[in-house]
Every structure is written in structure tokens, then in C-alpha cells.
């Protein structure tokens, strides 16, 4: 396993990072070959030198050891990795340039294949392959105890659909069941999206009026979107501190007794919702504002001449005209909120933390990386993936239906 694994490792690493550099270099080489041909060979030579250095480093004696134990972490030096990737990139770049001149003249698919191949190599290594690997893991029995043996070369084994049954019968965390998490995710998504849309639409309607200082209001209102999410969530977490946080201090000023936001089940969920609502309103507001501004004024004038009230104008002109903007942004918002792990994870604290605010994705993260149930988490991830696909398909049908309706 040792030498073979080391070679495959190096090969994959090389192909991986070299693909990136190759993409740049194909363009560069082709350009130089075409317009500045006297620089071509010196350049190829100069760029191939690192490849020789990297190869000597890698295939030389005792250069790379296979990681036979989880605690071993590879630490290639900066120059080693640079020379490796740069050299590999050169090689692929030259190859690509050569291929280019061969195929542009003869082959039909040469050009698109060359253009798409590097990105597709990346996507397949990063998305397609992991997906199938996850599928394999979900039918195996890999956990904290068996991983050592797996790394030393023992095959993964096959346990049937046990992991999938376990997802629905035993808790991904310590106590919270799958159905609890599922319902909470739906509640979480529903609460957040309705507040985002309601406040976003309200503020957009106000900002759409000809008022003084509109630019200033707009700038101040998108602050929650502009501030890095991690900063915002961690700052809010501080404000919800039961003793020193602003929220309880303000509540005390109004004579309400302090709420234990950090540990009580319902308050911690509410605090997560408040934070995420605060974060998400600006996006909806800006999208709706864009939609409102694209509605022609003449429609309102016509409605006014016909004697329609403000409410009637809103229902008959604004709402239908806004529909093409609302549907994609709500779809996008729903998927984002469903997948929002940052807010929950950072608000409930690291490593396990409080389970009463966890949604599906944050529970998945914790079950994989805090509790180290690998095969179980793989099955759990596939279940979540299925739910997401269902959600997406449902939305596509809804939005497809409405856009056909509008087109008619």
C-alpha cells in the first residue's frame, strides 16, 4: 500500500493543482506561440525546470510518506508545492497548447473540450467523486473505532441500509431526533423567509417613495448584509449574553427580567431566528427595490385615472409586476436559509453546544465532525440531499408554473 498510495497521492495532487496553472499557461503559450514565437522555447524550458525539481523531490528517496495514522499531517514546504504545481502546470500547458494546434484545425470538439476540461476536472474531483464516495460510505460501517483499520488498508465493508434506518430511529446528536430536527428546519426556514419578505418588501416600498436622504437610508439599511457574517453572528452572540449582553440590559430597562438566551431551549432558537432575520432583510429589500423601480410609472398613473385606491394599486399593479422578482429571490432565500449552518453553529457554541436550536445541516456537521459517526453522517447527508432535491423540484414546478402564467 505504501509506495503505491504515495505515487497515486502525488499523481492526484499534481493533476489537481496543475490543472489550474495549466489553464493559465495554455492561454499564455498559445498567445506566445502565435504572436511572439521567439520566446516560446526559452519559456517552455524555463517553466519546465521546476518540474524537474519537483519530480526529484517527490520521487527521490523517502520524499513522501503515506498518512497511515490520522494524527500525521503533511506539511510540504512552500517551494516544494510551488515547484510541483508550477512544473505540472507547465507540462499540461505545453501539452494543451500542442493539443490546441492539433485540434483547432481538424477536430470538431477540440476547442470546447480544452476550454471546459480543466474546470470539469475540478468539479468532478470535488463534487461528483465525493458524492459517489459518500454513497459508498453510507453503506459501510465507518466510525471512530473502525477508521484506524480502514486507513491501514482494510476494505470498507457493507452493512446494507442500516445507516439509513438509524438516521430515522436514533439521534444524530445526543438527544434530538431526526424528526425534531426536520420540523425545526421547516419552522426555521418558514419564520425567516416570512420575516425577510415582509420587512424587505415594507422597507423597499418606503424607499421607493421620493423622500429626502434615500441614499443614506439605503446605505445604512444594507449594513447587515455588508458586514462579514461571522463578525455579525459572533457580535450578536455577545449581545445575547445573559448577563453582559445588550438584549437583556434593554429588557431590564423595561422591567422585564433577564432571559437565559444561551442555554434555554426556546430562547436560544428565538435568538438564532432574530439574528438570521436581521442578516437577511437587506438582500430581500434590495432585490424588491430593484423590482419596484422597474415597474413603469405609467401603470400607476393609469390605475389612478381609473380611480384605483392605493391598496388596490398595490394589489393590482405592484404585486403582479413584482412576481418575477419575488419568486426567484424567495426560492434562493429558502435554499440559503435551509442550508444556513453558520448562524446556528456560531450561535450555539462550538463542539456539540446546545442542541435545541440545531437544524438538519448543523446537526449533520456535528454528527460528522464532533461525534465522528462517519457512515451514519454519510447516510444522513444523503437524506438531507434528497430533501433538498425535493424542495428544489417543488420550487421549480411552482416558479415554472407562474412564469408560464405570466407569459400567457
Amino acid at each position: 500500500m505504501d509506495s503505491l498510495a504515495a505515487v497515486t497521492q502525488v499523481g492526484l495532487l499534481l493533476a489537481f493543482t496543475a490543472a489550474v496553472i495549466a489553464a493559465v499557461e495554455v492561454a499564455l503559450f498559445v498567445f506566445i506561440y502565435r504572436y511572439q514565437s521567439r520566446f516560446y522555447w526559452p519559456l517552455v524550458l524555463g517553466m519546465a525546470l521546476p518540474l524537474a525539481y519537483g519530480a526529484a523531490k517527490v520521487f527521490g528517496k523517502g520524499a513522501v510518506a503515506a498518512p497511515d495514522d490520522l494524527s500525521v499531517v503533511a506539511d510540504p514546504t512552500f517551494w516544494e508545492s510551488l515547484s510541483l504545481t508550477w512544473g505540472g502546470g507547465t507540462f499540461l500547458g505545453v501539452l494543451g497548447a500542442g493539443l490546441f494546434f492539433k485540434t483547432t484545425i481538424k477536430g470538431r470538439y477540440g476547442v470546447p473540450a480544452m476550454m471546459i476540461a480543466p474546470a470539469m476536472l475540478f468539479v468532478s474531483l470535488l463534487v461528483v467523486f465525493p458524492f459517489f464516495f459518500e454513497l459508498r460510505l453510507a453503506f459501510a460501517n465507518l466510525n471512530l473505532y473502525s477508521i484506524g483499520r480502514w486507513i491501514q488498508g482494510e476494505p470498507l465493508g457493507f452493512v446494507g441500509i442500516d445507516n439509513f434506518i438509524n438516521v430515522f430511529t436514533s439521534s444524530p446528536l445526543q438527544t434530538a431526533t431526526f424528526w425534531e430536527l426536520f420540523l425545526r428546519t421547516i419552522l426555521w426556514t418558514f419564520i425567516n423567509i416570512s420575516f425577510h419578505v415582509a420587512f424587505g418588501l415594507g422597507l423597499a416600498l418606503l424607499l421607493n417613495r421620493p423622500i429626502r436622504g434615500r441614499a443614506i437610508y439605503r446605505t445604512l439599511l444594507i449594513v447587515p448584509w455588508a458586514i462579514p457574517q461571522v463578525v455579525a453572528v459572533l457580535a450578536w452572540r455577545g449581545e445575547f449574553h445573559p448577563q453582559f449582553g445588550m438584549v437583556n440590559q434593554v429588557l431590564n430597562m423595561f422591567g422585564v427580567s433577564s432571559v437565559n438566551w444561551w442555554s434555554d431551549p426556546v430562547p436560544i432558537f428565538i435568538s438564532c431566528c432574530i439574528v438570521n432575520i436581521w442578516l437577511g432583510i437587506p438582500f430581500m429589500m434590495i432585490v424588491f427595490l430593484g423590482g419596484l423601480q422597474s415597474i413603469p410609472k405609467t401603470l400607476y398613473e393609469a390605475a389612478e385615472i381609473d380611480g384605483a385606491s392605493i391598496i388596490k394599486q398595490f394589489l393590482e399593479v405592484t404585486v403582479p409586476m413584482l412576481k418575477p422578482v419575488v419568486i426567484p429571490s424567495v426560492t434562493l432565500g429558502t435554499i440559503w436559509t435551509f442550508n444556513n449552518i453558520n448562524v446556528i453553529y456560531l450561535m450555539t457554541g462550538q463542539d456539540g453546544g446546545n442542541e435545541s436550536a440545531d437544524i438538519l445541516v448543523s446537526a449533520l456537521y456535528k454528527s460528522a465532525f464532533t461525534y465522528s459517526r462517519y457512515s451514519y453522517s454519510a447516510a444522513f447527508a444523503l437524506v438531507i440531499f434528497g430533501i433538498l432535491m425535493g424542495l428544489t423540484m417543488m420550487w421549480m414546478r411552482v416558479s415554472g408554473g407562474t412564469s408560464r402564467g405570466v407569459a400567457k
Binding site: A27, P76, P112, L137, L234, Y345, Q350
Partner: protein
């Protein structure tokens, strides 16, 4: 004018709510250590000091976190833009057998959160010896940025009229030449959006970095910030100072570019 008072009132309240936490963080960051744990609410501190800032800059790994983040962000954005520009052009301009399958794959990828794929990705990166390296993080970030950028740029290239390249090719440019000299210069705004998207993604990411980066000298700033905030009791002031220092440049860039970013998002979403 009189009619608009209530509008201004509501907007004032909304603006106040939206900047309040930010003001609070700024206030905490300039508050001296012995006044951190006041149990009464004060927005404007009575005594101010810069000691939190000097301590963050000198006693913690703040600049190394920033440097790490910067390296990872720039690499991610470069990979995202370069790879996706060529791929998007190929997909946009050529008909080939697996094209529609490719498009579905790219769209499906956007729906999957990274968390779902994080576990197998972790094992793969471990196999490739990329755990606890910058390259590992960059590679993992490309999972989200690449498909989105390809989709975004493909949508834009579709709108660039084909006749422009045909004209250029009649005048003697090669296919690559016309891509490089005609299409790319025309698409600068969408390239900028793709770059900006990759930058914001990589710069603000927390969860993936948490899994892949293990030694504290390789931490990106969100990880470092979490460390500071983790033990609330002692380093709240430091956390606030670090937050302010990190957020101000980001916010300036964001507010300046928000219009662009938004066009990109809506283009992506309408198409997606």
C-alpha cells in the same frame, strides 16, 4: 413634505436597528478593560482607550490570520475566474454531446451545501495530504465558487453577440484570439462580479476552514475571531477590536460594489 414624517420615522427606526449591533461592537472595542462588564446599557462609553487595538495587533496572531485569509481568497478568486471563464465560454459557444447534462450537473451543484459533501471531501483531502494546508482550503472553496461562476459567466457570454467574434475571425484572429481580445474585454463587469463573489465567499467562510485548518498559525481570520470570542470572559474587548478592524475594509468594498454584486446575484438566480 409633511405627509412623509411617518416614512422617515419608520426608516429611522429600521436604520437604527440595522446599525445598532455595529455601533455596540465599536463601543466595546474602545472601552477600557475594567469597564467591559458593566451590567447597565451604555452605547457611548464614558472612558475610551485604544489599548484593545494595540493588544490585538501585537499580542494575537491578527496579521497572520489576515495574511492567510488574503492568500486563500486571492487564490480562490483566481482559480474561480480563470477556470470558469474558459469553461463558461466553451459551454456558451459550442454544442457538444454532453452539454445539457453538464448544465444540469452545474445547476444541481449549486443547490447542494458544502456541508453535505464535506465528509467525503475531508477524506479525499486527507488522502491527498491536503489537510491543514492552504491548498486544501482553496480546493474546498472551489466547490461552491466554480459552478456558480461558470453559470454566471455562461449567462453573460450568451448575451454577447456571436457576430462580434465572427467579424474578428474574418479579420484574422484565432478562436482563442477572439475570446481573449473581443469577448473577455466586453465581459469585464461580469468577470468582476464572478471575482467579487469568489472573494466574498472565501473571505467570510468559516465552517470548511474549521474542518481543514488545524494548526493555529494557519488560521484564517474567522477562525481566529472565534478563538477570541470563545472565552467570552477575558477577551471580549479584543474580539471587538479585531472585528472592527476586519469589517471596515470589507464594508467599504461591499457598499461600493453592492450594485454590481446584486446584478450578479439576480442574473444567477433568474437563470438558475
Amino acid at each position: 413634505m409633511k405627509k412623509n414624517w411617518w416614512v422617515h420615522g419608520i426608516l429611522w427606526v429600521a436604520c437604527f436597528m440595522s446599525v445598532l449591533p455595529v455601533l455596540r461592537v465599536i463601543a466595546v472595542s474602545i472601552r477600557p478593560g475594567d469597564r467591559l462588564f458593566t451590567t447597565e446599557f451604555e452605547l457611548i462609553p464614558k472612558v475610551t482607550t485604544w489599548s484593545n487595538y494595540t493588544e490585538v495587533f501585537t499580542q494575537t496572531g491578527f496579521f497572520s490570520w489576515l495574511g492567510n485569509s488574503l492568500l486563500i481568497t486571492i487564490m480562490t478568486a483566481m482559480i474561480g475566474v480563470i477556470l470558469s471563464a474558459t469553461a463558461a465560454y466553451g459551454i456558451s459557444r459550442y454544442k457538444f454531446p454532453t452539454r445539457s447534462a453538464l448544465l444540469v450537473l452545474l445547476m444541481g451543484t449549486q443547490m447542494i451545501p458544502v456541508v453535505v459533501l464535506l465528509l467525503p471531501l475531508y477524506f479525499i483531502l486527507r488522502r491527498l495530504n491536503l489537510i491543514d494546508t492552504y491548498s486544501g482550503v482553496i480546493v474546498a472553496y472551489s466547490v461552491t465558487t466554480l459552478p456558480f461562476c461558470i453559470w454566471l459567466l455562461k449567462g453573460y457570454f450568451d448575451t454577447v453577440p456571436r457576430s462580434l467574434e465572427e467579424a474578428a475571425q474574418v479579420d484574422g484572429l484565432t478562436v482563442v484570439g477572439s475570446f481573449w481580445r473581443v469577448v473577455l474585454p466586453l465581459s469585464t463587469p461580469s468577470l468582476a462580479i464572478a471575482g467579487l463573489f469568489s472573494i466574498t465567499q472565501a473571505w467570510n467562510e468559516y465552517i470548511v476552514a474549521r474542518v481543514i485548518l488545524q494548526s493555529s498559525e494557519k488560521y484564517t481570520w474567522p477562525l481566529g475571531l472565534f478563538e477570541l470570542q470563545g472565552d467570552f470572559s477575558s477577551r471580549w474587548g479584543l474580539f471587538a477590536a479585531a472585528s472592527v478592524s476586519v469589517s471596515i475594509p470589507v464594508m467599504i468594498v461591499f457598499l461600493y460594489s453592492s450594485k454590481w454584486l446584486l446584478t450578479g446575484l439576480t442574473v444567477g438566480s433568474v437563470k438558475g
